[in-house]
C-alpha cells in the first residue's frame, strides 16, 4: 500500500498547488474538499491490513467535517457575488506558482536531513506535509480575499494533519476529536466574521453611493 500512500501525498501537494494557481473561490473550495477527502482516505492506506475502529472513526469524522461541512460553510460565506473571485493578489498567480514550486524544492531539500524515527510507511509524508503547510501559508499571506485566506489556513491544517496521520498512537481519540472540533469551530467563526465584514462593506458602499446621489441630485 506504500504506493497508494505516496500517491495520496503527491496528490495533496498537487491540489494545494492548484488552489494556489486558481482565482475562482468556488473552484478553490471544491479542490480543498477533494484534498480533505484524499486526506481522509490516507489512514486506510496506511494501516491497510490492521485498521482499528478508532482510526476508521477518525477518518470518517475528518471526511465529514472537512470534505463536506467546512466547504458548505465556506460556500455559505461566499454566497454574495462580490466574494466569488480573488482579485489583485499580493503576488501574482504566475509568480506564486513558480514560488510554490521553489518552496517545494526547498522543503524536499531540507527534509533530506530530517529522519523520522522508527520505520515510517512512506518517506514522502514528511516533505509533502511541510510543503502543504508552506503552500497554505503562502496562499494565506499573498491573497487579499478573506475567504481565500481561510482556505489557506485550512490547507495549512491539512498539511499538519497529513503529518499527524503518520503518528496516530500518541494522541488519544478524544483529543484528536477536540482538534478537529476546534478547527471546525474556527472555520465557522471565520465564516461569520467574513460575512459580517461583507455586510458591513456592502452597507458602507451603499451609504456612500446614496450620499453621492444626494449630492448630485
Amino acid at each position: 500500500m506504500t504506493s497508494w500512500v505516496d500517491a495520496s501525498c503527491i496528490i495533496i501537494v498537487f491540489l494545494s498547488l492548484i488552489v494556489l494557481s486558481n482565482y475562482r473561490v468556488a473552484a478553490m473550495i471544491r479542490v480543498f474538499s477533494v484534498q480533505s477527502f484524499v486526506l481522509g482516505l490516507l489512514p486506510f492506506f496506511l494501516h491497510a491490513s490492521s485498521i482499528s475502529n478508532q482510526d476508521v472513526f477518525i477518518a470518517f469524522v475528518t471526511m465529514v467535517l472537512k470534505a463536506v461541512l467546512v466547504p458548505s460553510i465556506l460556500f455559505w460565506a461566499i454566497r454574495h457575488v462580490s466574494m466569488r473571485s480573488e482579485v489583485k493578489p499580493i503576488i501574482g498567480f504566475s509568480s506564486s506558482i513558480i514560488f510554490g514550486a521553489m518552496l517545494i524544492a526547498g522543503v524536499f531539500w531540507v527534509s533530506l536531513s530530517l529522519k523520522l524515527p522508527g520505520k515510517p510507511v512512506s518517506d514522502l509524508i514528511l516533505p509533502c506535509s511541510l510543503s502543504t503547510v508552506l503552500l497554505g501559508f503562502m496562499i494565506m499571506v499573498t491573497r487579499t480575499r478573506a475567504v481565500t485566506q481561510v482556505l489557506g489556513y485550512l490547507i495549512m491544517e491539512n498539511g499538519i494533519f497529513l503529518f499527524a496521520v503518520s503518528l496516530s498512537d500518541v494522541m488519544p481519540v478524544l483529543i484528536e476529536m477536540g482538534i478537529l472540533l476546534d478547527i471546525f469551530v474556527a472555520v465557522f467563526i471565520m465564516a461569520i466574521v467574513v460575512n459580517h465584514i461583507n455586510e458591513e462593506f456592502e452597507k458602507n458602499t451603499a451609504s456612500v453611493s446614496q450620499s453621492k446621489m444626494g449630492e448630485t441630485f
Partner: protein, 307 residues
Amino acid sequence: MSIVFLILFHWLVVLLLAPFFIGVISKIKAFFAGKRGPSFFQPFFDLRRLFQKNSVYSRTTTWIFRSAPIVNLAAVLVLSLVVPLGFLKAPIQFSGDIFLAAYILGLARFFIICAALDTGSSFEGMGASREAFFSCLCELALFMNFITLSLLTHSISLSSMIGAGIPVSWKLMGPVLLLVAGSLFIVILAENCRIPVDDPDTHLELTMIHEVMILDHSGVDFGYMLYAAAIKLFVFVGILIPIIFPIQSGNPVADMLIFLGGTLGLSVTVGIVESTMARLRLNRVKNLLLLAFALAFFGFVVKMWRM
C-alpha cells in the same frame, strides 16, 4: 530495405489512425452536449473534401506561406518516426532523439508562425504572438518532463525513456511518474489546442490561439494543417500511453490492443475534459501552463530526492 518498409508501415498506421481519434473526441463532445454527433470517420471525410479543393493565396503572401503546411505535415510525420506506437517500435532510435523530436516540433511551429506573419494580417499576427508565448511555456514543462524521464531511465532516447524501464519505475518512483503523467496531460491539451487552453472549434477572434493562425489557409493546405494537427495529437498520446499503461506483454496482438485501448481511453478523457471544462480566459492560460511546469518540476524534485 527493411527500415524503409518499417518507416512506411509506421506512417501508414499513423495516417490511418490519427484522424479516427479526432472523430472519437468529437463524438464524446457531442454525446455530452446531448447530440448524436457525426460519425467516427467524419475527419476522413473532411480531409477528403479539403484535398479535392484548390488553395487560394493572398497576393501579399510569399513562398513561406505556401511552404508552411507542407513543412508542418512533414515535421509531424518525422516526429512520429521516433515515437514507438505500442506494438510498433520506433523505426528511428538513437541516443538523443528526444532533442530531434523537440526541435522538429519547434520547426513546425516556426513555420506556422512565420506563415501567419506572412499574411500581413494583424489578426493572424496576434495569434502568432500568442502561440509563440504559450508554446514557450509548454516547452518548459515538456523539457522538464523529459529530464525527469531520462533521469528515471538513464537514457536520452525517447523509445527507451518510455519503454521497458517504466514498469519498474512505477514500482520505485510511482509518485514521480504520476506527476509526469499529469504534467504531460496538460501539455497535450495545450500543444494540441484542446479546450481549457484553446478551442479548436471557435472562431472568436479574442479567444483563439492556434486556429487564428491558419485562417488564411484553404483547400489542400488547410487539409494538411488539419491532418498535421491530428497526427500531432496522436503522437503525443502515443508518448503518454506507455507511461499510463506500462504493460508490455510481448505478444504483438495484446500490445496492439492495449495501445489502441489506451489511446481510445485517453481520447475519451480529452473529450470529457473538453465537455466539462470551460475554456480558460486567455490571461489565465499561462497559469495552467506554469502549473504543468510546476508539476513537472515537482516530479523532478521528488526524483532527485529519492535517488
